[in-house]
Symmetry: C2
Subunit: 326 residues, 2 copies
């Protein structure tokens, strides 16, 4: 298939979902991350969730907030998404989400009611409860931050920073859905789905982690599939090539648009080539479409290809997405 690779590269390089990750690395440099409190930290910044080793378990904790723009555009959908992205943060690491706490700041009673309505919908679908939190009833803005606690089996967490050269890159997502009416950049595959199917989709990464079938993985979030792969490759100190034509895509969405979307349920993983078909089978068994779409490379260059030509998307020796290197 023919793609205007230069145009796609330019669009992704300048895509706000990607560029708004740029301040993270420099910000973290200011942090005192040396304190370890005699705890055993297995994963920290640059991962979807932080991982602590504790007895026979791994404890996972993540926090995520909702882009203020979405909060104002559609508070109900923002509340739904705040829960969804937190569940994804734990699921992406091969963890089981246990419960969430929220910090909720609001100035408008109407927004507040709608946000809770959206949260309740997601809580009911995914079966992960809000178990505590904090409220600012007198804020000059509407804001919802959620943190989530999860667990994983020791040795079975899936990190972003551990992609290996020559791994294949596999993308999995749910292609049945719709562009959400409140956000052109949200592919909503979950609100029309039965809870049992959603829970099964969320378990896919845990099954892969416990079977040791993948080397690295991440949930596809606001930066879109290429931005997410970029963050994974950058923190793994590797390069990659992705074949645009191989990317699973809903038929009705144009490719450049799709590449900027947050899919309601999407993951990228890297794996040994010998395991590729098994990985794809696990995803398929969990109601997700999956395909091999590229390969991890030595070096720092992340390119996109149409099979014939290649165009550089990022060179992490010069460019950064987050700037975090594992």
């Amino acid at each position: 298939m023919n793609f205007d690779l230069e145009s796609i590269a330019r669009e992704i390089q300048n895509f706000e979902g990607v560029t708004r990750k740029n301040p993270i690395g420099p910000l973290l440099e200011g942090f005192n991350t040396g304190m370890t409190n005699s705890i055993d930290i297995e994963a920290t910044f640059g991962e979807d969730a932080a991982v602590l080793s504790h007895g026979d378990d791994l404890l996972l904790i993540a926090a995520d907030g909702i882009w203020e723009r979405l909060m104002n555009a559609d508070p109900e959908w923002a509340g739904y998404c705040a829960v969804l992205v937190n569940i994804h943060d734990i699921a992406a690491m091969g963890g089981k989400p246990l419960g969430m706490v929220d910090v909720f700041s609001f100035r408008s009673k109407t927004s507040c009611t709608l946000v809770i309505k959206g949260m309740n919908d997601a809580i009911a679908r995914f079966g992960v409860p809000i178990i505590g939190g904090h409220v600012h009833p007198d804020a000059p803005f509407n804001m919802l931050d959620i943190a989530i606690l999860g667990v994983a089996k020791k040795g079975c967490a899936i990190l972003s920073s551990t992609a290996k050269a020559d791994d294949v890159i596999i993308m999995a997502c749910d292609l049945e859905g719709r562009v959400h009416p409140s956000s052109n950049l949200n592919w909503d595959s979950t609100t029309m789905r039965d809870g049992e199917i959603l829970k099964k989709q969320i378990e896919a990464m845990r099954v892969l982690g416990e079977a040791h079938l993948v080397h690295a993985g991440k949930d596809i979030s606001n930066p879109g599939v290429l931005g997410t792969i970029g963050m994974m490759i950058e923190v793994s100190r590797k390069g990659a090539t992705v074949d645009i034509g191989a990317i699973p895509k809903p038929a009705e969405i144009e490719m450049t648009h799709w590449l900027k979307m947050y899919p309601g349920m999407g993951f990228v993983v890297t794996a040994d080539e010998d395991h590729a078909s098994e990985v794809i089978e696990v995803f398929n068994n969990h109601h997700l479409t999956a395909a091999t779409i590229g390969r991890v490379r030595e070096g720092s260059i992340f390119s996109i290809t149409d099979g014939d030509r290649s165009v550089k998307l990022f060179d992490f020796s010069e460019d950064r997405i987050t700037g975090i290197k594992g």
Copy 2:
């Protein structure tokens, strides 16, 4: 000693630190809290931290944000306090804080640097690291929310909702400190303290929990000591009497002012009268001044007394602080 009890009652009833807790109960009524995800929830809303039973452990998770006013008045102190209040949330439950994640929204680079400076200071003093988080670099406001993960021994968590009638109420705090220059309502006892002493102070509640010496407890937060006792008594479905003259207080601070202050390190607990001296001794051994200041009662009336007269502060059959009942 002579106190104007009516005036104190009015001041506390109308104190914003107390009244801003009012929307919490009605807000929670909207929440779908029935989902349990087959997890064993031991404590939820109305507690300083949520508690999940997991294997041989209790897992604690809490989230807390900083009043936007403080964030604007002094970003460095706000960053410090955001860490401090989260550590208190775990400590108050008899837990050991492990690590924190943050959601950081900022519009000003200067504020951002100052907030991180304050966070780093608290992280270094208390030895509890930030291990992950999320950043909104393009927010129209400055906001910092933190969530914290902790652990406790099974059966040793200290809840707010379990005060028993006839328990004595004991207050513990660090009286050495200063009114913080950026907030008249913050008693800063920690920034001039050595980290080893702070860690010891933070452990007091864990020692009490593991020795089963108290029935209920809470850290003294923005509502001040009476507001905090009020929340504990309300969620325990009890009443109480507190003797104003018995409240430990820095000599240089006027009582009504002190009653509205957030002490850098303060706890209230309820205990069997026979254990009172032992509880006070534990606090003293952890560098905290402690005294018996009142008693839990059957019923719904929370009164203050000067030894001679009593004045009603709240009647929880009509009034509410949070409205949460355990």
